[in-house]
């Protein structure tokens, strides 16, 4: 086990054998999800499901609608139409209850800027019913995050590591990561994907990750979805995609999105 992954909390399923990427009851689902801002559509009629224990990579260019879907799934944005379901419940109506079982790392770190990581952990520990304070602090140390520096003075990587630590502190069944490697250097990015996400996945934690980093997700995702201009244009198991296209994921993404663009034209 790597250094970073060593501090991870036990997942909901502590037995190591990773379940195959086959759907049981979905841990997360979007049903004909549509989001509009002031009438302008940003997500249209998107439907997909993430089975329990699955790592789902949601890919898309900037503005494709990934973050809006994530905000719907964490109950912070009400869909204009359709539903976002998390652990079998409506993400909008059951947000508070669900957040006890879900960890969220937003695209932009949103922790109170004047608090240091140590004080952030102290604050968050009071907002959850169960919290692994020792593990969280150990994880921050392993990420080499200074504990007493105000959050706004941390580097981008340190902020991301702090947010990830906060998201994992209550041992979530479901982890939602919105472009967690954006702005990270290669070492930090590998730590997130290779060690943390990989380790969590092996423990059976369901993970939804949106990213531009196609190469990194290729090795760990069980299933991928590609968003292009508000629409989900691909939603298949990773193995099936690789088999069908017989190309690296980066090429597949380029081909699928350009084909979708031509189709739309």
């Amino acid at each position: 086990m790597s250094g970073i992954a060593a501090g991870l909390p036990p997942g909901p399923s502590s037995s190591p054998p990773r379940p195959p990427a086959l759907p049981a009851a979905p841990a997360l689902a979007c049903e004909r999800l549509t989001v509009r801002y002031g009438g302008a559509p940003v997500v249209e009629d998107v439907t997909f499901a993430v089975p329990s224990g699955c790592v789902y990579g949601l890919l898309g260019r900037n503005g494709a609608g990934k973050s809006s879907i994530v905000r719907c799934l964490v109950g912070q944005l009400r869909p204009t139409a359709g539903r976002a379901l998390v652990l079998g419940a409506d993400a909008w109506t059951d947000r508070a209850r669900l957040m006890a079982r879900v960890g969220v790392v937003p695209e932009e770190p949103d922790a109170p800027s004047e608090l240091s990581p140590a004080r952030l952990l102290a604050l968050v520990s009071r907002l959850h019913e169960r919290w692994d304070a020792t593990g969280a602090e150990a994880r921050l140390r392993r990420f080499a995050v200074p504990l007493d520096t105000p959050f706004h003075r941390l580097s981008k990587g340190q902020k991301g590591a702090t947010m990830l630590t906060i998201a994992l502190g209550h041992a979530p069944e479901l982890l939602i990561l919105d472009d967690p490697t954006l702005g990270l250097d290669v070492v930090a990015r590998d730590a997130v994907f290779g060690e943390v996400i990989g380790e969590l996945a092996e423990r059976g934690t369901t993970i939804l990750v949106t990213t531009h980093d196609l190469a990194a997700i290729e090795g760990i995702a069980d299933r991928v979805g590609i968003l292009h201009e508000r629409h989900l244009v691909l939603d298949e198991p990773m193995e099936a995609v690789k088999e069908r296209f017989a190309r690296p994921l980066e090429r597949i993404f380029a081909d699928v999105t350009s084909a979708a663009a031509q189709g739309a034209a």
């Binding site: 801002y37 002031g38 905000r71 964490v74 109950g75 912070q76 944005l77 009400r78 947000r95 508070a96 209850r97 669900l98 957040m99 006890a100 879900v102 969220v104 937003p106 932009e108 949103d110 922790a111 109170p112 800027s113 004047e114 608090l115 604050l123 968050v124 009071r126 907002l127 959850h128 019913e129 998201a167």
Partner: protein, 641 residues
């Protein structure tokens, strides 16, 4: 088995709910503590504010008690604005509210924690500033009830109102412009309604202001709660929800207030609950009535109405205390009055009472801006005389130009002016000193020529009170009512003393009233109440003991030759009575308990009022009655059932 399972399931669900509630409350406190600690610098500012009142007087800025309270007020408002504008709105604008929404906390714990921090910080900042003033005895805490009525709703309205404005501003949405437009409309509507109510004598009591503050607080608190509950991390959606909720409370409330205000200032005679003053026209069936209104009309309002006793016709005059009049022409066909006499922007109104549906119409008032201290209508109803502090003017109704202006100084709150039978206008000028001897100048104005002259200088012992007789032919002056009063009768044209009717020190208190035929009824109080009747030449014709004890009496001619002596305290402190006296026969006709003869203040100052026997009385319940002087039977005129 299934029943046991159901019980277990219910128990587990209940336990889970309890756990969630514990987490929510713990989260609420944690969020409040964090918000407060982030803004702790505000308390340092409050400490500086607390010291300011103690240092400022040394550099010549204000006095300590005032500055202490002022600084606390400024601190509370500033703290409320700073915290209200930042606790939620800044998090939203900077995309940080999602941090709390990603925790297992209900919306109310997030919203409540932030609001609690803002309220506590504001109160603590205010307390820090005001506590030194309390310790030095400059200020003390308002009573407990004040906080519920005013303090808490004002604080909530301020914090959440500022929050609403901050959310609107930070949302950068076009809806904010609509908010501002609506706020301007609401502000204008409220200001207009308040102004109209104040002009009508409706003063908001504490309960009413408290209700308004609570509605304001409710609108903004509910709006901000809905914003967090339904808008969550989306600032534009949150702003939209906040606006919809807040305006759906405020707009109907303001509309209802405006509608109530418009309705409240338009009372009719049917709304009268109790008559407080009445004045009959010299002829005809019209009378001016002031009184209190039935609920739900405003209880502080005391409007004056012109009422036709024979029909249901009426004319709304104005609020009573800021109005001179209404006065009637001698045939009762015209009434005139001046409103806003204290505000410096007086307005003249006239009403043609012969019309089928008389209405008040505005007429030019060609006098400079300023307080009106005296007002008279000529017997023919064509001319008006107005006394101001710097001048007395006479003008024809409808004219933009005065007929005559006498630039004489009148230093008094109220000073009678009269139209004499010779067509001249007479008034008394000069200072009205409460204590020192002085001189009253008898000013005669001739509207025909536009000239004026000082006809006489009448020395007074201090605080003179003048009473004009019919046609301004006689003038009675009571000197120094408060201390050893005296009474002298003067010629109205020349000011020459005709007779001294009561020497200084012969009575503890004096009042007098001219009868319609020029005789003078004088009420003397000393170890009892005595009514004395004098002819216009000063000769006494009768003297009757009316009551054996001091009774704060006054006399009114209620029928030709019949004088009602009103006794405020008859037999005992709380018994009012009127003693009816036949002035010709010099004997008491009857005693009526619980009655007070009209005219009564504020109309009693009108010279024509004192010479119009109208047989009108106000009973103990506030009902206006006519009295059968022979039998004592009372006929109720107002309020109408």
């Amino acid at each position: 088995m299934s029943a046991v399972a159901a019980v277990i399931e219910r128990s587990q669900a209940s336990g889970a709910r309890g756990a969630r509630l514990r987490v929510a409350l713990r989260g609420l406190i944690a969020i409040a503590a964090r918000e407060a600690s982030e803004r702790a610098a505000l308390l340092g500012l409050a400490v500086l504010g607390a010291l300011a009142p103690f240092g400022a007087p040394y550099v010549g800025i204000g006095d300590r008690p005032f500055l202490g309270v002022f600084a606390a007020g400024v601190m509370v408002v500033a703290a409320a604005c700073l915290t209200g504008s930042s606790v939620i709105a800044r998090d939203l604008a900077e995309g940080r509210l999602g941090f709390f929404l990603a925790r297992p906390l209900p919306w109310w714990a997030i919203w409540g924690g932030k609001l609690l921090a803002a309220a506590v910080l504001t109160l603590v900042a205010g307390a820090i500033v005001v506590i030194p003033s309390m310790l030095t005895g400059d200020w003390s805490l308002p009573p407990t009830g004040w906080w519920g009525l005013m303090g808490i709703p004002a604080l909530l309205a301020l914090i959440c109102g500022v929050h609403a404005a901050a959310v609107g501003y930070r949302s950068r949405s076009g809806l904010f412009a609509a908010d501002l437009a609506l706020a301007a409309l609401v502000g204008w509507t409220v200001a207009r309604t308040v102004r109209s109510l104040l002009a009508a004598g409706v003063f908001a009591d504490v309960a009413f202001v408290s209700l308004g503050l609570w509605i304001l607080a409710l609108a903004f608190v509910a709006g901000s709660a809905a914003q967090v509950a339904r808008g969550r991390a989306d600032i534009r959606r949150g702003h939209r929800i906040l606006s919809v909720v807040a305006w759906s409370i405020l707009a109907p409330a303001v509309a209802a207030y405006a509608a109530w205000g418009a309705w409240a200032v338009r009372p009719s005679p049917r709304d009268l609950k109790a008559v407080t003053s009445v004045q009959a026209a010299p002829a005809g069936s019209w009378m001016a009535v002031a009184g209190r209104l039935r609920w739900p009309r405003p209880q502080s309002m005391m409007p004056t109405l012109l009422v036709d006793a024979r029909t249901d016709r009426f004319v709304r005059v104005a609020e009573t205390w800021d109005t001179h009049g209404p006065l009637f022409s001698s045939d009762g066909s015209q009434a005139a009055w001046i409103t806003n006499v204290w505000s410096g922007e007086p307005r003249l109104f006239v009403a043609d009472l012969r019309a089928e549906a008389p209405v008040a119409r505005s007429a030019p008032l060609p006098v400079p801006p300023g307080r009106i201290v005296g007002f008279a209508l000529s017997p023919d109803g064509r001319d008006v005389a107005v006394v101001q502090v710097g001048q007395t003017s006479v003008f024809a109704i409808g004219s933009q130009k005065p007929l005559a202006v006498a630039p004489v100084h009148v230093d008094a709150y109220a000073r009678e002016v009269v139209f004499a039978t010779d067509g001249h206008v007479r008034t008394l000028a000069g200072p009205q000193d409460w204590l020192a001897p002085g001189v009253l100048s008898l000013v005669t104005i001739d509207p025909a020529t536009g000239g004026y002259r000082v006809s006489a200088e009448i020395p007074t012992r201090g605080n003179p009170m003048a009473e004009w007789g019919p046609g301004a032919e006689r003038l009675a002056i009571i000197d120094h009512q408060e201390r050893r009063p005296s009474l002298a009768l003067h010629d109205g044209a020349t000011g020459a003393r005709v007779a001294t009717l009561a020497e200084e020190g012969t009575a503890d208190r004096l009042s007098c009233t001219f009868l319609h035929d020029g005789r003078l009824a004088v009420v003397e109080e000393r170890h009892g109440v005595r009514l004395r009747i004098f002819r216009p030449d000063g000769a006494e014709t009768s003297s009757i003991e009316v009551a054996p004890s001091l009774a704060f009496a006054r006399a009114v001619e209620v029928a030709p030759g019949v004088i009602a002596v009103d006794l405020q305290h008859f037999e005992s402190f709380d018994v009012r009575a009127t003693v009816l006296v036949d002035a010709d026969a010099g004997r008491i006709v009857r005693i009526e308990r619980g009655l007070s003869a009209a005219p009564s203040r504020p109309f009693a100052g009108d010279p024509s009022a004192a010479t119009t026997p109208a047989n009108l009385f106000v009973d103990a319940t506030g009902a206006l009655v006519k009295l059968d002087l022979a039998t004592g039977e009372r006929r109720r005129l107002l309020p109408r059932d």
